[in-house]
């Protein structure tokens, strides 16, 4: 499973890269609004660090506008993937961008059928949001399972990015299902590395090491 980080914060991206688990970055307008500087500068700075897909979102409501925005975003750097919301207009734009060789990530996907439509339209990535489904007492990971089954039924090549991840169990389940990618907030990446028994074990080893290190 590939790990993307869901942030526009340069320090967090550098930290994830230094751990060696940075396969890509996803951003959205909300994440961009939390950082300083204009969006294009932020995208360029991210592309300098990450050797993988960097999702930058289009904000036009109509397909013509999204295509125009998408072409411009794609021209910023070869790593840019144009993130497009899951609407009818969005999929029209995906179809056009796909024929031009511009990679797209269809976002705000909440049903397996939306994922299938996006894949058929030519999206390189589809992003189902699991946390926001859990929020309305609907099982987010079950949707991911159904999407993986449908994509395997028809040998679809679009990659599934599990998004809106809230805690490490989402990542565990995504890995058990065999989802291609999880895009994870920085906080959850840190949580994933932790286990109390790992901490205990380290403490015990270090204490024992104290007993031997000065032996001649």
């Amino acid at each position: 499973m590939k790990f993307f980080i869901d942030t526009a914060n340069i320090e967090q991206i550098k930290e994830a890269a230094s751990i060696g688990i940075l396969d890509g970055v996803t951003t959205n307008p909300t994440l961009i609004s939390r950082e300083k500087g204009n969006p294009e500068d932020i995208f360029k700075a991210i592309c300098e660090i990450v050797d993988g897909p960097v999702s930058a979102e289009a904000v036009s409501p109509d397909w013509q506008g999204m295509v125009k925005e998408g072409r411009h975003l794609a021209s910023l750097h070869k790593n840019i993937v144009v993130k497009i919301p899951m609407t009818k207009e969005g999929l029209k734009a995906v179809k056009v961008l796909a024929t031009e060789g511009i990679r797209t990530n269809v976002t705000l996907v909440f049903s397996p059928i939306q994922a299938l439509l996006a894949a058929r339209a030519g999206a390189a990535f589809v992003s189902p949001f699991v946390g926001r489904l859990d929020d309305i007492a609907s099982e987010g990971m079950e949707r991911v399972e159904q999407i993986m089954q449908i994509f395997s039924n028809y040998a679809l090549s679009a990659e599934v990015i599990v998004a809106s991840i809230r805690h490490p169990m989402h990542v565990v389940r995504a890995a058990m299902i065999g989802a291609h990618i999880a895009t994870i907030p920085f906080k959850v990446i840190e949580q994933m590395m932790k286990h109390p028994l790992t901490d205990n074990g380290i403490t015990r080893f270090l204490a024992d090491w104290e007993k031997v290190k000065n032996r001649s």
Binding site: T30, M86, L91, K95, L108, I113, L117
Partner: protein
Amino acid sequence: MKFFIDTANIEEIKEANSLGLLDGVTTNPTLLAREKGSATEIFKQICAVVDGAVNAEVVSMDWQGIVKEGRELAKIHENIVVKIPMTKDGLKAVKVFSAEGIKTNVTLIFTPIQALLAARAGATYVCPFVGRLDDIAADGMDVISQIKQIFDNYMIESEIIVASIRHPMHVLESALIGADIVTVPFKVLQQLFKHPLTDIGIERFLSDWEKVKNR
């Protein structure tokens, strides 16, 4: 999974095409009756838009009549698939067309056995109707699972077109079962794209974008 649209309305067909989701069209006499112009003209118009199967239904009841009608329909355009009702005479006609290389779609299928018979007669497509089974408190999608299993058991090449689709759940279940094709009314095609959380998410992103766009 391939998407066909179940309509004879040229505007709806064009809209589906612009979404990149138009692998074929199914029509029937009821759908044709809703449009203007002769049946032949409508079929020609549809074939000009769609790069895929276009189903045109015969109305004769005896196999000789079906064969005659089907040959005429097939002449209209190479994309035409002759749609034939699931009757004994219908299957006799399918057998003749199969030998002549004319593609057929056997329609009004309600049991897995009807689907097997149609496939054995040489149908290119079989069309089980799920909504009309749900209407009589029988599980339409269950029939699709059984047809899929039987076709897999015997490596039958006929493609399954799930028809009489009423809502997106029929499409989802078809995809999970691995049916070859769904033929979807325009209204349901529109519904497939929608999710309230998608709408809410777009609103939230756009309002955050307002804060940064002029930096």
